[in-house]
Symmetry: C2
Subunit: 183 residues, 2 copies
């Protein structure tokens, strides 16, 4: 940030009185421009014994598999955002069940909220940011080709809770791979 | 937003190709300036049979009672942010126990994450944004003088879980007042 988004004058980094951190402060109008982490919302979307994954058509990690997820927008709840991403990336209509995980990815300023959801129909199709998509058996998830560590963590979490009904706490950090189920 | 924070040229509201929403786009460098909801983190801090509340010294809702809470900063996790706010507003050192609630306050673009925490010591003191503070018996919470609806909701949630040990799901919306406990 180099200029004030309100008046166009330059900003300088300095510590406002009473603050504990340096901020971008406008030398013209004095406005303090705070920068804050962003919220990413996603959904692990199940259909019977399968889970929806999308192969990314965009960077970063183009070509790798992910759950539908993206930045929360102004004017929507986190649940609405997760449902919108499922629609945008996979033309999937979903019913949200509960909060699977809250992950802090501090290095890149993200708080990720991932929900467990149920596809309302298996009719899905790649949106513009998706190269292809598929419903994978849980035992056939392409672990080595997942786009991000948090996708791996939340899929582990979903497997741990696979047969769980009733309320559950969200994972707040990485989770070990659950033991393989006997077939 | 009227000017580009990167180059200082004016921005205009328009829909980037492939986007579903209008964005602030710089007429000079073309940068798209996304605006996103902010994360608020807070903690219900218990000490034996009491809970820490702070009377706000700043607007909005100056003079009303709240739990320590505020905007998440870049470079910290949500748990670290909640602990920092407890320190800034109440000079409280806390141990976080679990996630009590995730509230969407869509109208003002906030996602609030509130934790259950334990004071490590009853030595607390008002920070600069706090007029006074106190440890309240749960039965003596000043319900009519709370600063925000979400403070009421999360205190209800904490009371519901008051004697609960083990994992618990976060509340995702308002909660009814729990029945009064017999004394």
């Amino acid at each position: 940030m180099r200029y004030c988004s309100g008046c166009g004058a330059p900003v300088e980094l300095k510590r406002p009185e009473g603050d504990l951190l340096d901020r971008h402060v406008c030398v013209g109008c004095g406005e303090i421009h705070y920068q804050n982490p962003k919220v990413v919302v996603g959904a692990v979307c199940g259909w019977r014994d399968k889970v929806l994954l999308c192969r990314r058509a965009i960077e970063p990690r183009s070509g790798f598999w992910t759950i539908p997820a993206g930045y929360l927008e102004i004017g929507e709840s986190t649940e609405q955002g997760a449902a919108r991403e499922a629609w945008e990336e996979a033309r999937a209509q979903i019913a949200i069940d509960g909060l699977l995980a809250v992950y802090n990815v501090v290095r890149i300023g993200q708080v990720q909220l991932h929900y467990r959801a149920r596809l309302l129909s298996p009719e899905v199709a790649a949106g513009p940011e998706t190269r292809e998509l598929d419903l994978f058996a849980w035992e056939a998830i392409p672990w080595a080709e997942l786009a991000f560590p948090t996708v791996q963590w939340v899929l582990h979490r979903a497997i741990v809770l696979r047969d769980h009904t009733g309320p559950y706490p969200p994972a707040l950090g990485p989770e070990e791979a659950p033991p393989q189920r006997s077939r």
